[in-house]
């Protein structure tokens, strides 16, 4: 039966962004050439080259760190805290003023639906600056011990899944606490960070306070290993996090890591199924599942398994995959060919190991990187799709009978970033969340974020928190 309610195309205009054919590094308040070999960033939805990006060599990173050190010593460090706060308020306002431009650029470079970049990524990024702006002159009241002081130069390396938002999570608390920053955006998504550099200039932020060095893993390594960096903050894979922890070992550098996850989303038999299904969909298919805290393991109570899966499949059938700039799009493009290959590999392994794959009838565009929403049932806890982070729109479904079994299965992972619980029974929510070994637990909701709410993992999902009073500690000397 054909659906009588067809959607007409509703593309957001990309005329609001003017992507320069090439981009330099942002060092000491100026855009400068890099001395590494430039690379191209593409639109993952079309494979169109968007721009050529400078690559920062060790020498470029050294210049950026020196600029950050100078700014820390001469301008930003000695500045009155209230004035530091006012710069951050300015940045928050500029992000709001240019929100649509950031949203379109983010969707172009990353492949995420404009609905998400417009309604989630960019507003939350602005909110993080606004929130942290207020902390700048109130650190003595943060309850982190007497006389907290900035650490100095923060070297920050961020991933491609929420390029601007992760920048905000890193830069806002670092600046609010009086540190200066050398930030390396992800190789495949550098454009909004470079637009952010323009915002820093519009805000008249003193040169060197924020430096942005684009490049791949080698540039990130140069930032992490630079001897004059006082603090390293990384968001990305557990594997890279391990190597960073090794590189930082034996130095004076402070380290926070926000790494992978394999979150359990637990649905009890008394949960309102329609709400739970919305939460499951939001948990694993938003941002194409490129979310470290994605609810990638659905633990559903055995007696409602069939009902929940049927409802879930019906709902997935209505998701619209395609042009990220279309305002009706639910699922955009996979960020890179490399990530698409990894998703395909793990999905193949899932089938080979005996799980049952289900995908809706879903037309994929001819060009670009795409993967349809995928649900695996009959998954056993030993399957790789139940253990490894796929970082794609792939849900693994397991069942349980008792709350104890649900908790045991949920905690049966080396990760501990997030989890979800769906039940109408309040006492069960509190008992289960108490026993889940995860840094963020969403009860009867999923994938909610806020600058006032600390985020970060247990176990091999990393250490340190971002957001809230707790997040400030990562950037303060003597914080307890």
């Amino acid at each position: 039966m054909t659906n009588p309610f067809q959607y007409a195309p509703a593309p957001e205009s990309r005329s609001i962004v003017d992507v320069a054919p090439s981009h330099g590094l942002f060092v000491d308040g100026e855009f400068v050439d890099g001395t590494g070999t430039p690379f191209k960033t593409v639109n993952p939805a079309t494979e169109e080259v968007l721009s050529e990006i400078a690559c920062a060599s060790d020498a470029d990173v050294d210049r950026a760190v020196k600029a950050a050190r100078r700014a820390f010593t001469r301008t930003w460090g000695p500045m009155r805290p209230a004035d530091r706060g006012k710069y951050l308020f300015r940045i928050a306002r500029l992000l709001q003023e240019r929100a649509r431009e950031f949203a379109v650029l983010e969707s172009l470079d990353n492949g995420k639906p404009i609905r998400e970049s417009r309604d989630v990524d960019v507003p939350l990024a602005a909110a993080h600056f606004f929130y942290h702006a207020g902390w700048a002159d109130k650190l003595d009241w943060a309850g982190l011990g007497p006389g907290p002081r900035p650490l100095g130069v923060a070297g920050q390396v961020i991933p491609w899944n929420f390029p601007l938002l992760m920048l905000a999570w890193k830069v806002a608390p670092a600046l609010a606490t009086g540190n200066t920053v050398v930030l390396k955006p992800a190789e495949t998504t550098p454009l909004t960070a470079l637009l952010f550099a323009e915002v820093c200039r519009q805000a008249d932020l003193p040169p060197g306070v924020v430096n942005i060095v684009t490049g791949a893993g080698e540039t990130g390594r140069a930032v992490v290993e630079h001897a004059d960096v006082d603090k390293v903050a990384f968001t990305g894979s557990t594997e890279v996090g391990r190597s960073i922890a090794r590189a930082v070992a034996g130095t004076r550098k402070r380290l926070t890591l926000e790494l992978g996850g394999k979150a359990a989303n637990i649905v009890f038999d008394d949960a309102p199924v329609d709400q739970a299904v919305e939460g499951i969909v939001q948990g694993i298919f938003s941002n194409q599942g490129h979310v470290c805290c994605a609810g990638s393991r659905l633990l559903v109570q055995e007696n409602v398994h069939d009902e929940v899966i049927a409802s879930l499949q019906r709902r997935i059938g209505t998701l619209r995959l395609g042009d990220p700039l279309d305002k009706n799009t639910d699922i955009g493009a996979i960020n890179s060919a490399e990530q698409l290959a990894r998703i395909r590999e793990l999905v193949d392994v899932g089938e080979a190991e005996g799980a049952h794959r289900w995908q809706p009838a879903c037309e994929l565009p001819d060009r670009g990187f795409w993967f349809p929403p995928t649900v695996f049932t009959e998954v056993s806890p030993a399957h790789r799709i139940a253990r490894d982070e796929v970082f794609g729109p792939v849900l693994s479904v397991l069942t349980f009978r008792t709350p104890d079994e649900a908790v045991a299965k949920a905690n049966n992972t080396t990760y501990g970033l997030s989890a979800g619980v769906w039940t109408e029974k309040g006492s069960r929510i509190l008992a289960v969340t108490d026993r889940l070994r995860a840094g963020v637990v969403w009860a009867n909701t999923f994938n909610k974020f806020d600058p006032t709410s600390p985020f970060g993992g247990y176990k091999q999902s990393g250490y340190g928190r971002e957001g809230g009073r707790q997040g400030l500690a990562a950037y303060l000397e003597g914080a307890q």
Binding site: A127, R246, A249, G439, N444, T445, P454, G468
Partner: protein, 288 residues
């Protein structure tokens, strides 16, 4: 002066609530500050360390699941029972560290008082470190500190009792369980502390005390996948980097060793509690 021949103590490990010898059968000679014989201490092996981790993991659910009030009472009980053995601790600390009796007494007093300080923290951490987060939406959102899990502690080498208590008590106050490698040269107060812990309503396995060499046992604990955090307070200075690198394998929380052993009598603050606490944040929608 009685001519009665004293009954000497056999100094053993404290592991899973019992006092076994090292499975390796190894012992080493412990001397006083002037080189005189004090005892043969058990020299814990890699296998002992692994057994201790198993015991600490098994005890974690009970200890972390106990109410904060209960944990506070148990830690206070440790102070009470230590007080009863005050003279014995003074003697062992004075002999091992070569302190005058008054300085040994000061160290023991401070060690007992440290338990009292941390006993009082257990039911305040949630309020001081956690709270409600005013998120921009119709949600109730709160954050609470929770214990990290199993913590491996390389205890200070010089301060055999006050230093040990200063690193162990905060780990326990937060609800973690511990595997401790004691001061190699001065292990006797630690063994006596084990006897105190065993009679203070602390569940077996919550604290495991291994006498032996931090340089030998440290790497096994630092790379053990079921250890969540390591405190390198007493790590050999030239081994700290290696231990931190090993700990990176399973993303352990690491407390680096100080450049030199600090004055443990200083106000401890929260600096040894927070490294072994995780923040858990819970969201729930609000609606009619």
């Amino acid at each position: 002066m009685s001519d009665r021949l004293a009954v000497r103590k056999t100094y053993k490990l404290y592991l899973n609530g019992a006092f076994p010898r090292s499975e390796s059968g190894r012992t080493y000679e412990v001397t006083d500050a002037r080189g005189g014989f004090l005892a043969n201490a058990a020299q814990a092996s890699r296998k002992d360390a692994r057994d201790a981790v198993v015991a600490a993991r098994a005890a974690f659910g009970t200890w972390s699941g106990a109410t904060a009030y209960n944990r506070g009472q148990v830690l206070y009980r440790v102070a009470e029972v230590m007080e009863g053995r005050h003279a014995q601790f003074c003697e062992e600390v004075a002999a091992g560290e070569g302190l005058s009796s008054s300085r040994a007494r000061a160290a023991v007093d401070a060690a007992i008082d440290r338990w009292v300080w941390y006993a009082g923290w257990t039911d305040k951490l949630g309020a001081v470190l956690g709270g409600a987060n005013p998120v921009a939406g119709a949600y109730f959102d709160f954050s609470l500190p929770e214990p990290t899990g199993v913590v491996a502690v390389l205890a200070p080498q010089r301060s055999s009792l006050l230093g040990l208590v200063s690193v162990l008590a905060p780990v326990l106050a937060g609800g973690n369980t511990a595997v401790v490698v004691t001061s190699r040269a001065r292990p006797l107060p630690a063994v006596t502390l084990g006897e105190v812990l065993a009679t203070s309503d602390l569940p077996g396995g919550v604290v495991n005390l291994l006498t032996g060499d931090a340089g030998e046992l440290g790497p096994w604990l630092a790379e053990h996948d079921d250890v969540d955090a390591v405190d390198l307070a007493g790590a050999p200075a030239d081994r700290a980097m290696e231990l931190e690198r090993l700990a990176a394998g399973s993303i352990k929380r690491v407390v680096r060793p100080p450049a030199e052993e600090p004055d443990w009598s200083a106000d401890p603050g929260l600096g040894r509690l927070t490294p072994f606490l995780e923040t858990k944040t819970v969201w729930h929608p609000m609606g009619l």
